[in-house]
Amino acid sequence: MSETAATRSGFDIRMQRQIVVALVRYGMFIALAIWLVAMSVASEYFLTTTNLLNVLRQAAPLIIIGVGMTFVMATAGIDLSVGSIVALISVLAGSWLALGVPPLLVIPLLIVVGGLLGAFNGWVVTLGVPAFVVTLAGLTSYRGLAFVYSDGYATPIRDPVFAWIGRGDLFGINAPFLIAVVVAVLGWFLLNRTRFGLHALATGGREEAARVMGLAINRIKIMVYALTGALAALGGVVISARLSNGSPNAGVMLELEVIAATVLGGTSLFGGRATIAGTVAGALLINFVRNGLNLLGVNPYWVQVVTGIILVVAVLMNTVLNRKVESWARASTEEERT
């Protein structure tokens, strides 16, 4: 095997291409890693177990609900109602626990309620109303219901079992993040290894093709919204337990953060492409950026500005740049084959 100059430079070019492709494809993970390293240097408080676990706990609701949003976006949908579902669930949790309903009954009931609200969203979507409009209506009306039900008052939650969900820990890791990990792993499995995940991607990738191939598109849509509703309820349980409070003001603007995390991770708003790992990375990045800037004493309002800038850059990478680089990579692999 003599190595000529030509094959050597060909090899180098291929290496370079692979590096560029990897940089763009895994940009979000790289950005997260760089941020973690940079913040570790910049702040002595950043790289402490307490701080890291605290950020993971803050990120947990975003990850939990983001997993559902990833499925909705896989079908080319969107769910703006998740923050309001969190509020309604929070109010119901406070009320039911105050009535003395056992927490181990309250939690599954709340998840069922969230699933039903989501299924209702999905059903209206299958009637032909754009998901944006359906869930925008959900955003206003579900929170409206939360205010009506609670009369605008927050109810303290004192039940220790329920509170453990938000405040407890296991093996030194807090319960919210453990729940988020379990949800993310199950979500990854569902999206990448089951027929349901594949059909969700096919529906979002090209609905007409999915339809003529006989996929149960309406059922898939109802199921992804139901899943997201159920996960929003779980997120609502975590948030309420953490704050020990059943409040109609829980989860304000949360839907936008969830959508930002999902899109940051590389899931396409136009359907057909979705990644759970990306959503987790997006949720972590948003929270670590907020945490890092807080530790540096930056005016908290800047956090929102920075998050916005990251979002635009990430989407630019995921759409325009990614498409170019992927087709470039493909062209080079095809060259090799011929």
């Binding site: 089951t194 027929r195 991607l201 096919a202 090209r206 003529v212 191939m213 006989g214």
Partner: protein, 254 residues
Amino acid sequence: MSGNLIEMRGISKAFGAVTALRDIDLTVPKAGVVGLVGDNAAGKSTLMKVLAGAIQADRGEILIDGAPATYTHPIGAREAGIEMIYQDFALVPDLTVAQNIFLGRELMRRVGGVRVLDRRAMNARARELFAALGLRVPSVTLPVQALSGGQQQAVAIARATGFEARLVIMDEPTANLGAPAIAKVRETIGRLKGSGVSVVIISHRLEDIFEVGDSIVVMKQGRVVGERDVADTEDAEIVEMIVTGRDPRGVRAA
């Protein structure tokens, strides 16, 4: 009687106020190649989508081997051996070649009682399929959007012909294709016919149908104008039927 694979009887379909199909009868013989021609909006594609289960007819019945078909869904049609290659290929661009081929009839395996996609088996089967059909794609694990138009059609053909099809419907199979791809399509039709599969070709290009077809059915405005054996007609007569919507011989071939 080994004659007809498919008999469609009295098929009617309206979309709102627009009547797309009016009382259509159509038969497809076993191992026969039927060309379905007609102007735009003649109802050719709608009729074939009814046969493929993608559209439900308002009235009429479909017989397969003389027995009434009961499917109301593309999967039912595919299980009955009726496959359709759509004009736009009906592929999902983000999914891989193998995922597209098995879409809706995925191979599954059980892991600890949970049914999961058997991706390795599907990729292997897809490779075998392409090898057996003599079709070429760069890789069955590439997303379909990375393929050229001709390669995408190869995927659509592989999907339609790889599962013991009895009837393959092709909607404008030669539109927007270069000469080598058109030759490939004709070769595929010949191969299907040779192995006893019936084919319906919807095409604007009469030359394709005269080249590979056995008979021609002319439609206009949701009705069947007339039918001819390819050996018994010529280009000009078919064109006249397409344009006027009348059968110059006055009677419809039985």
